[in-house]
Amino acid sequence: MSLLDNSTPTTQRSVFFAAVVAGVAVLLYLFAVQPCQDSIARAKQERTALEDQKRVMERDIKDSPRVKSMLAEIEKARTPYMEALLTPLLESWAMRAKSLLDPLAADVGLKGLDYVELPPRALPLPKPTPIQLYARRPIRVSCRGSYAEIVSFILRVEKVLPYVAMQSFTIKAQQDPEAQSATIVFEWPAKGALSRTVPQAKGGPR
């Protein structure tokens, strides 16, 4: 201050003016330049994120025909399985199996057919795990007939129902060779449990 005390009033005014203007410059930097720089940095980040998002969206949209054709191929490959799935008939799996196997058994002359449904067996999980899982649904068929008739029945089932597998069987010899006893467990692919809850469609019922 002693420096200014000895100064002329003009110098004092000049220094004061310079200090005020410098203060304004500092305020401009702090409250205008710096916030602006921050906003620009944020806007640049946002622009980069949006550009990335746009790139991804455009790539996905461009990929749409390939996805559609892939989906069609998968649907086509899945159709035979969907047609072969065992579905319950009036809530009975055994009755559905009966409706499918009775005509084949009648063709070869098997008698005394009896159907019992067994607990389903889970299939190994694929990766990623789908929402709808599939399982093996075994149905035990007991019948009587000659060995040739039983084998003929099995051959027919394997031919007519290409997705039905024989899980186990027992053929026991009886006194009458024309009436051997057979117990065959056939298994079908069938819908199993859901791996997770299905996401509800937007706008759908709540």
Binding site: V15, L50, K54, P124, I154, Q167, P189
Partner: protein
Amino acid sequence: MIVPKLHMNLLRDTEKVSSSPVRMRVMLPIFALLLCAGCAIWWAILFMQMLLLGGQVSSLKNDLNGKKAAHAAILEEMGRARDLQAELDQLDAYAKGRRTWGGLLAKLADVMPVNVQLTSLSMPEPPIQNLANPANPKLPPLLGPTNTAEAVSLRIMGRTAKAEPVTTLLATLGKEPFFEWLVVDKGKVNTSPRVHSFRQESVLGPDSKRLLAFDVEFRCPERRFEK
């Protein structure tokens, strides 16, 4: 001595700080004004840049909003494709694990020696699946087994008058075309065929001879539920 001009030094000591002819009282305000003007210009440039960026961002947002519906649809299709592919993989695994036995049973009848009478022919049921969570059995059971293979075997039980037909039968089953269904393995651990019993029966045969009962088990190729 005559001095032509008189020079008077009117400067104070404090004013002798600069060699510059321009005084500090002039320079300081000028520097301060320049600094202020510089800041203002800097801010103006940044502000313009910010406006430009804001415009770009809003234009990008509008563009993205326009594509949102199409993108959501394609994302849904991608998710569906992924899910259906996983379902297909599981069904393919089932199909891979399917084996046919009708051919074996038909061919078995053709190669059965005359002196052999089968009493039972069976393929036992696979053991019950254990889906308990290995980490903690109290947790909910697993949705699927961790093992993808299932052991299969064929058990043949019958009667005969002599031993030869049985050895002939086993030798025949160890050759073509039975390789497709039956495993012949002379290893010590898991031998196939394994003779469970070969003994004389207590009951007499039709010609009052004691019959021999045999019980043989063949290992079959595993059912593999893999893609």
